[in-house]
Amino acid sequence: MNKSLKSVPAINKQELLFHIAEHFPATILSITTDAGRSYTGVVLTIGKVRTDEAFLVLQVTDDRNALTTRFLHLTVGKIESIELINPADLLSILSLGKLTKNETYEVSGKLAVQRGFQLFSEAIFNAHAINVGVPVMELPTDGLQLNRVLKLTQKIQQVIIDLLKEEDALSGWKARYNKIAFINNDDLEVKGVNDLVEIYFPFENIEAPEVSAEKLTDLLMSIL
């Protein structure tokens, strides 16, 4: 987690509070004002007034983090610091949703992954009538790594299904590729080698982040 947090971009208090209000409204915050007073509660509303100044309404919680009937109306500019108390997904909050905490993995067997590969091919065929092939991969033996491969397969499947909704992407893929391989690698890369699409990714590293749908889509488009 700490390693991932280091890659979180800097954000200001206003961006942070808007993101929390929209996506993590249950997060309990301890807000200290520039006058040195502290209030603990959840963000009820946050908005901007005509002067472009943002204000928020905080519903105050008690010592046991239960909501009270006390409310605080405060200008964001008056906030000195914001403490997040036991946030559900700190990484997502601080990155404004760009990063999420790593997936947790259960144990899977090779058969489940092989069936997942088969389903990958069938799902894409059923969606777009295109044979992308059954993924070829040298499977790890560890159950958690196998589970990661399985989950990544489902994500890659969805990325490809979404990508091939575009007619030019579909025709480009159909004309050039009918095989696909997953290759364990430190970074995400995509290569088109003859009729084969090679997807490189840390498939076996259970500590590594999940594949970014956006980046994978861009890389796939670059070989079409």
């Binding site: 144990v107 899977s108 067997g109 090779k110 058969l111 489940a112 092989q114 069936r115 088969q118 159950g143």
Partner: protein, 137 residues
């Protein structure tokens, strides 16, 4: 083991046991070795229940699980590679599927009380057994 229990175990061995193991081997497409600790299964005073209880506690979940897994060639092949032997016993006093199954080095061990949770636990045993096999194939 008293005479009643001995007769009931023998009747099961000569009848249903052979049929069930044959059925399992036919489904998987290969011969699995079965090792049953009959003494531990022969619960005193329950001889009249052995036929149904042994079948439902130890074999019905296994038949269902291998049927599901061996539904395609990929599953059959995986079972052939991974499942070599089944050990059936009643030593740990387990009555739930969540603690009754172990899989290690190609050996599936089923350790469950023979006449407890027979009907009610059937679905749970089948789910647990299928899951543990899938994790190891």
């Amino acid at each position: 083991m008293g005479l009643l229990e001995k007769r009931a175990v023998k009747a099961f061995q000569d009848g249903s046991y052979k049929k069930l193991t044959d059925e399992i081997n036919a489904i998987t497409g290969h011969t699995i070795e079965f090792e049953v600790n009959w003494d531990s299964l022969a619960e005193e005073g329950s001889a009249d229940k052995y036929e149904d209880a042994f079948t439902m506690v130890y074999f019905t979940p296994l038949v269902s699980a291998v049927k599901e897994i061996a539904a395609d060639d990929m599953g059959k092949e995986a079972l052939k590679d991974a499942l070599k032997k089944v050990v059936i016993k009643n030593e740990g006093g387990y009555i739930y599927g969540s603690s009754a199954y172990k899989f290690s080095n190609g050996v599936l061990t089923i350790d469950h009380q023979p006449c407890t949770n027979v009907d009610n636990g059937l679905a749970e045993r089948t789910t647990e057994l299928t899951a543990i096999l899938m994790k190891n194939l």
